[in-house]
Amino acid sequence: MEYFVQQLVNGLTLGSIYGLIAIGYTMVYGIIGMVNFAHGDIFMVGAFVALIVFLLLTSVFVGVHVVFFLLVMMVVAMVMTSLYNWAIERLAYRPLRGSFRLAPLITAIGMSIALSNFVQVAQGPRNKPIPPLVNQIYEFAGITFSLKQVIIVVVTAILLAIFWYIVNKTPLGRAQRACEQDRKMAALLGVDVDRTISITFIMGAALAAVAGTLYLMYYGVVVFSDGFTPGVKAFTAAVLGGIGSIPGAVIGGLLIGFIESMWSAYFSIDYKDVAAFSILAIVLIFMPSGLLGRPEVEKV
């Protein structure tokens, strides 16, 4: 039982990270109906920015509290990564809006290749390890959990609350939901569609950047190719939760995290990715609209 709860804790941590990335996929899909394939690499860029900020900070400040470090890393990563996603949307997706549906998917794949290779060229192909930022470990009723895990879950929860507020209670969120439902109508009613879409990309990237920072803190290492697998898993999470639905993305992320940690614990660690991918296939085949998604009606 304790072992099981332990795995639940691990799954919750992993799932929070996937959930944060998945929101970016689901929002972009909701608003312009494209799979932003480069989103996984945006997450990786976020982790790299956090890494560089961390190294900068450690070379300047000594003996400052770690919370300050983490906050600065997160904020800078959010800003920089948003800038990347904004630029990508502007250069690679916006010119193709209204083109056939495959076109932005292809540029997204191109951007994904370009981003990961850009980081490889600019920062080198090696693993980038950092010394552990926080290493307190607590024990409670036979279950060990680290401060890192607590930070991840708490940060995710806070961000989700902020995010929920923005999407549901502000004019910006209303504009986003309007664009999601009918872009042309929203434009006619005075919503600046281009701007709303840009902001959606920026918000998705900011969350991915936080996920990247947390990922760096949790694993203590990042490499240029780290975007792909978490990216695909987060996408799986988005689909599992019902693409286009933000609570769905979070639930999907947590589910994928649980499944992955349970599978590694009880079956085989070699096949944990196979499990995640199989779930993706099974969900899409038998439940294409996911847990919370709306079924798509298709007409001639």
């Binding site: 900020v53 190294l55 690679a92 056939f100 981003l115 290779n117 689909v239 196979v274 991918f277 899409l284």
Partner: protein, 466 residues
């Protein structure tokens, strides 16, 4: 994103492009500022490991300044001179002069075939027998493998409109079938080639069956998942596939058993014909094998397009619901598309295994699928010559980078152009797509249509929904 090339892309969509020198300057400053912000951390500072294995930051402000400068200059020149020039040219261009086709255009296929068959001969004459190895192998064979794969995927994506992101799985099935069966049972290439095709086609049906109901992006993602599952199984099923280490020592192709290409063998090509031993014979032989395989692919595809099943594919691509209401069996139509596409990948895979003499899961990563799909889309889905051109440009272009030794003289001895291969490939995908969304040769008309064309063809609005 940084290159002037892609900055140019940004310019195409804002209509205020022709703002004169002052406006151009403003745009250039804007572009330079964005570039500086994007790259200040990721290029300005580099993470390196010192002797104690600790990460340290190396400052590279000069490089950053150079890149920002290039972007500034590029954007300025583009906005101030190139864009007005392009706009002027666009305005003065006469309404498309169709009709008259030159000799070259009319006989394009014949000329291209002729050139392809003569290519190894030219390579030998140009750079000698040993020197031709590089040209025949790295360029000729490499490009033709991608041409074949892309033509195979074209059946699935271009004709039937089913977006497949896991195509490389079938390539892997073909390669591993040849590798395992030839090592375990000693079967020859010529027996295993059709067998690899059949096995891959079977897998095409097996993986195609569950995804029959899916469409569009969802189909793409499920096929991606299948591709990854097959790769992960290849890595983890060590007893059979030898895991990530791969299978080596795969037998070479023989010339139908008449002679072979092992120097020690009695029927070595060089011995039979009294020539000096050289690796080039084998490569040239392989070149013709893959060329003929490609031609078979092209022949079969063009023929299939005119058969009922080909027409059904195109109907499916244009509109699935309409297609079904007209009584076309969408299940068998989709499955044949998957099977035939997979079969060609199987052929290409077994050829690949024979050529490399080594297979490992490393060769079948998702990136390969993405590259093949990119070639199909950039070539203009459905157009065989367009796809061949795209393959030559994208694969040959990135191979050419390996040859750019002189760049070392410009950027210093540490500069390795190979590293930039995939970066440029990715950027090229974006630039070409934005510049020509319908591919190099955009011919997506159905093979059969009523001869009254409407002002807005349905393929423009409907496509991509398959």
């Amino acid at each position: 994103m940084a290159t002037p090339n892609t900055q140019r892309v940004a310019a195409t969509d804002d209509e205020s492009g022709q703002a004169g020198i002052g406006g151009a300057f403003k745009q250039a400053v804007y572009a330079a500022l964005v570039t500086a912000a994007l790259f200040v951390l990721l290029i300005g500072l580099k993470t390196d490991q010192n002797i104690n294995n600790e990460l340290i930051l190396v400052q590279r402000w000069g490089l950053l300044a150079a890149i920002v400068g290039i972007v500034f200059a590029g954007r300025f020149v583009f906005a101030a001179f190139v864009q007005p020039e392009l706009a002027a040219r666009k305005a003065s261009r006469p309404a498309a002069a169709a009709g008259e086709q030159g000799f070259v255009k009319r006989n394009l296929t014949t000329i291209a075939l002729f050139a392809l068959f003569l290519y190894p001969v030219v390579a030998i004459m140009g750079s000698g027998l040993q020197g031709s190895l590089k040209w025949v192998d790295n360029f000729g064979i490499q490009i033709l493998i991608y041409v074949m794969l892309a033509w195979g995927l074209n059946v699935v994506v271009g004709l039937a409109g089913l977006l497949d992101l896991g195509y490389v799985a079938f390539y892997a099935v073909g390669a591993y079938s040849y590798a395992l069966l030839s090592e375990q049972f000693g079967f020859s290439f010529w027996l295993l080639l059709p067998m690899a095709g059949i096995l891959a086609a079977t897998w095409g049906v097996i993986l195609g069956f569950p995804v029959l109901r899916l469409r569009g992006d969802y189909l793409a993602i499920v096929t991606l998942a299948f591709g990854e599952i097959i790769r992960l199984v290849l890595i983890n099923w060590r007893e059979v596939t030898n895991g990530a280490a791969g299978i080596s020592g795969i037998p070479k192709v023989t010339f139908f058993g008449l002679f072979d290409f092992n120097v020690s063998s009695d029927i070595y090509f060089g011995k039979v014909f009294g020539l000096a031993a050289s690796g080039a014979y084998y490569k040239i032989f392989l070149y013709y094998v893959i060329l003929i395989l490609c031609l078979i692919t092209a022949f079969v595809t063009t023929r299939l397009r005119r058969m009922p099943v080909g027409r059904a594919w195109e109907a499916l691509r244009e509109d699935e619901i309409a297609c079904r209401s007209l009584g076309i069996n969408t299940v068998s139509t989709k499955l044949t598309a998957f099977a035939i596409g997979a079969m060609f990948a199987g052929f290409a895979g077994s050829f690949f295994a024979a050529r490399q003499g080594f297979v490992s899961p490393e060769s079948f990563v998702f990136m390969e699928s993405a590259v093949i799909l990119a070639i199909v889309v950039l070539g203009g889905m459905g157009s065989l010559p367009g796809i061949a051109v795209a393959a030559a440009v994208m694969v040959g272009g990135t191979e050419l980078l390996r040859e750019m030794g002189f760049l070392k003289a410009v950027f210093g001895p540490d500069f390795t152009p190979e590293l930039y291969r995939m970066l440029l490939f990715g950027l090229a995908m974006v630039v070409v797509m934005v510049w020509k969304p319908r591919g190099f040769v955009g011919s997506r008309e159905p093979s059969a249509f009523l001869h009254e064309r409407k002002a807005i063809s349905s393929d423009f609005t409907k496509e991509g929904h398959g």
